[in-house]
């Protein structure tokens, strides 16, 4: 389990998260949705142990504030909303930096992660010369290589992804969401901040809907993604429909009225 209890976070003079609780289970994809500025990234940063905050975060039962950085790195990988790279490392070198914590990384782990995100042909190009979407996938490859297999020797491992598909074309959106799905199906845990509600409905098992720095609703995808709840969170009237054959919910932006 990945659980956050009573998280309070203050940045500058803003209280960004108010007494927030959050749970994610291994074997599931848990989406965090909500409008801009609702605290999704802030919550994810608390879950990954970036920021000093009030409350407690436990990963597989261990309080993350008691774990050393390299212990955390072996248990979970974090894809930030935006990444920077100061020096002209190649794509392959970038992915290998992700393997820093491992004493003896598996042979070819970096190349496999690149192949998984469709970037093996760009292995030797400087990351800064890749397109925006390619760079996002390169950083995802770095995170996948760092985490390795979805289940460790005695506990599940975790992917914490902040808008992993925000810069991707539709085919690569599906590819990346499938990577997350497969990771969860193999026993790992995935927490993904998502803006695309249709992809969320297709791939997530449960959703936490943030609004104004607190969770407005959380539960299974079907429970949370209702016209009513979404309308309240995003501040506009939405009608949730269902695609005829598989019955997964979808949202038509055309149904919005200011």
């Amino acid at each position: 389990m990945l659980s956050a209890r009573n998280i309070t976070l203050t940045l500058g003079h803003n209280t960004v998260l108010h007494d927030t609780c959050f749970d994610a289970a291994p074997g599931e994809v848990t989406a965090i949705c909500g409008p801009n500025g609702s605290g999704k990234t802030s919550l994810l940063r608390c879950l990954s142990g970036d920021l000093p905050h009030g409350g407690r975060v436990t990963l597989n039962g261990e309080d993350i504030s008691t774990l050393e950085p390299w212990q955390l790195a072996a248990r979970r990988g974090v894809l930030p909303q935006a990444s920077q790279l100061a020096f002209p490392f190649t794509t392959l070198e970038l992915v290998e930096i992700g393997l820093s914590h491992a004493r003896a990384p598996a042979e070819g782990a970096a190349l496999r992660a690149l192949a998984r995100t469709g970037l093996a042909h760009h292995a030797e190009r400087p990351v800064n010369t890749l397109s925006g979407g390619q760079q996002q996938r390169a950083h995802l490859a770095r995170v996948l290589a760092q985490v390795g297999s979805p289940v460790g020797p005695d506990s599940p491992r975790w992917l914490l992804l902040d808008e992993p598909v925000s810069a991707l074309d539709i085919a690569h959106q599906l590819q990346v969401m499938q990577i997350a799905r497969d990771f969860a199906d193999a026993g790992g845990g995935v927490v993904a901040v998502m803006h695309d509600l249709n992809l969320t409905a297709m791939f997530a098992d449960s959703v936490t809907l943030m609004a104004g720095g607190r969770p407005l609703a959380s539960g299974t995808t079907a429970d949370v993604m209702t016209s009513d709840t979404l309308g309240k969170a995003y501040g506009c009237t939405l009608r949730v429909g269902s695609a005829p054959p598989p019955g997964t919910p979808f949202v038509l932006p055309q149904t919005a009225t200011a």
Binding site: W70, Q84, A86, F87, T90, I97, L111
Partner: protein, 355 residues
Amino acid sequence: MASLIDVAPAPRSRLARARRLHLWLALLMVVIGALSLGAGATGVDPLAALWRLARGLPLERTEAVVLLDIRLPRLAMGLLVGAALAVSGALMQGLFRNPLADPGIVGVSAGAGLGAISAIVLGGALPAGLAVLAGPHLVALAAFAGALASTWALYRIATRQGRTSVSTMLLAGIALGALTGALSGVMVYLADDNQLRDLTFWGLGSLSGASWSRLAASAPIIFVALAAASTLGRALNALSLGEATAAHIGIPVQSAKRRAILCVAGATGAAVAVSGGIGFIGIVVPHLLRLASGPDHRALLINAGLLGATLLVAADMVARSIVSPSELPIGIVTAVLGAPVFLWILLKRHGADAC
């Protein structure tokens, strides 16, 4: 029809290339070092001296003095100072995630300089007991103290709740550099004629004051700093992704930054103490190496030490021979050689950014 499986030829490793470069640079260092032993105003030939020794004859007096007491300590100091400056540059650039950062920029050199200048000007006014205690190491110790104090001040200013903000540190460094520069100016104003000549020569940078006793004060500090720096490669690689991501990857970011800062203070302070303001080595050397074999700090830090040492000894040969039998301050040579390279790098970067 594109293949579904994304296969690519096995990539060549730049790290392996950079590791091979260790050997070539070490070889180059030995060659340049040997050449520098033969260069000088007195025309003493080290080969002839070796030949005498080989035949079991003792060295002539001038040979012994020139080779053992003048050229050898000067060579050793050139190697140590060059390595210290280049590695400090590479460390700062990694720490600040900016390829143009340098100990000169964040005020570390200025702090070391203030320490050294104060020691030169006020040294005579020390209580006799303390002066005897510090002895010939006074300038080195004061410079090291100055570097450490300015680095520590920077760190305190830029660090909140255990997190160092790089931009605050850069800006604070500029302010501190200006302040220590002004204080150094006051010291210069206080200096008498003799001290002034010392200061001018020292300020332009020179290896001409090399002696075994001066080396004894600085060499251990530089050795420890260089050895510690060579363990920071992985951490600096991760830091190029930003502090948050470096922590996600498993790097103990705060302790890595603290160690890097201590290494820079030690290496820069000790180097400035014995040689004054020698610029550009710290910026040019890591840049050239990144172009040659990539930015991986695990190899870069070692290569920077080797190439920095070689370059400074070569620059010293130029400084000694160009206006022989007199000599130019070496800081002038490194600036004349280094500034155009630096500008060329800037132009190239500009081109790369534009397209």
